[in-house]
């Protein structure tokens, strides 16, 4: 049976240099990140350079993605949230494109590595902290003090609120990473059933039709999950940014 974890292996393609004795290598993960960014840039820059009043196909895709993210921000964080549009749009497009590229056989899924999703989640977390304190000053701490709580349990509640706030980047990153990892392992396992059963002769060929059908269905499901997880990551980013813009429930 093929090793289902093998697809997540990071391979060194070439070495860029050394920093403090550590080798900085260009890996297959970095390659696929560059491919994702290149695809997004090509789509957004290339398709809007025509600036047709009546958009063509590619321009419609770029405009639709803009509208989608802009509406998500407006409905979640209000119009003030639009100043974070570049961040949110970049996050959404990067995760979506990286997820979808990962579905193509023989490619590498960048978002199936927790180090990538944690960096993205920490980026949002630090943005919320820095912007929240910069804009609201110490009033940002009202986020941790809910109103209408009796004074004698307030310290406990504040403590729990702080823990809940600290757990945000964890759940934010684990969700995307685990979905991608689990989906790709499932696909690989069922796909290897097909080859195993096909090795048993005619009866095996007939039996192999079942997992093959399942793999087709799972691929469709994974496409949905790829979009949905990008969307969930985006909407949670907006909800967290909303806390920085309007603290104090």
């Amino acid at each position: 049976m093929a090793d289902p974890i093998h697809q997540f292996e990071i391979k060194k393609l070439f070495t860029i240099g050394n920093i403090g004795g550590h080798e900085i290598a260009f890996t297959n993960s970095a390659l696929f990140m560059v491919i994702s960014v290149g695809l997004i840039s090509a789509l957004v820059i290339g398709s809007t350079s025509g600036r047709g009043l009546v958009p063509g196909r590619l321009q419609s895709v770029a405009e639709l993605s803009y509208e989608f993210v802009a509406n998500t921000i407006r409905s979640t964080a209000g119009t003030e949230g639009m100043k974070f549009f570049p961040l949110v749009f970049s996050l959404f497009m990067f995760i979506l494109v990286a997820n979808v590229i990962g579905l193509v056989p023989y490619t590498f899924t960048v978002t199936s590595h927790i180090i990538v999703t944690v960096s993205l989640a920490l980026l949002v977390f630090v943005t919320v902290l820095v912007y929240g304190f910069w804009k609201n000053g110490l009033k940002f701490l009202k986020l941790f003090v809910p109103s209408g709580i009796p004074i004698y349990i307030l310290p406990l509640i504040v403590f729990i609120e702080v823990l809940s706030f600290l757990s945000r980047p964890v759940s934010h990153s684990i969700r995307l990473f685990a979905n991608m990892l689990a989906g790709h392992i499932t696909l690989k396992v069922f796909a290897s059933f097909v080859t195993m059963l096909a090795g048993f002769g005619i009866a095996g060929w007939i039996g192999a039709a079942l997992p093959l059908a399942l793999v087709v269905a799972l691929t469709a499901l994974e496409l949905l999950v790829a979009f949905l997880q990008a969307y969930v990551f985006t909407i949670l980013t907006c909800i967290y940014l909303n806390d920085a813009i309007h603290p104090g429930h």
Binding site: G148, V170, R175, V225, V232
Partner: protein
């Protein structure tokens, strides 16, 4: 610039063109408003939240809620373990923070479930609304 030469040719034409253009833009804007609801300038900071739950499948919702709980417990346990390592009080900080982390996880779940399902029965909803 072509505008300069046109001004010399026919001084009346450019203003007329601009007036016609702005009139046409206003007309088109009115027609757009008729066709679809115009975007309200300030839809309010808190989303209506029905859109998110409608588009998210049950699997995604379940996974989201469970990961909220797990994250709370993990962060609580991790913080407790770190504090124990600093102070050398090994089981106690871990135990206390595990419980607090569990509470924070439940709070997370209630909050995201309330955010996702629209109508929220408990008091956390009242806090989130303002």
């Amino acid at each position: 610039m072509s505008d300069g030469t046109r001004d010399k040719h026919d001084p009346e034409s450019p203003p007329a063109d601009e007036a016609a253009l702005s009139a046409r833009l206003a007309r088109l804007g009115r027609r757009l408003d008729q066709v679809g609801p115009s975007r309200s300038p300030e839809p309010g900071p808190v989303r209506s939240s029905a859109d998110a739950s409608a588009s998210a499948s049950g699997w995604a919702r379940g996974f989201r809620l469970s990961s909220e709980l797990v994250a709370g417990v993990l962060v609580g346990a991790g913080l407790g373990w770190l504090i124990d390592r600093w102070l050398g009080t090994l089981p106690w900080g871990l135990m206390l923070f595990l419980l607090l982390g569990f509470a924070a996880g439940v709070l997370n779940v209630m909050r995201s479930a309330g955010l996702m399902s629209g109508g929220v029965p408990d008091s956390t909803a009242e806090r989130r609304k303002d």
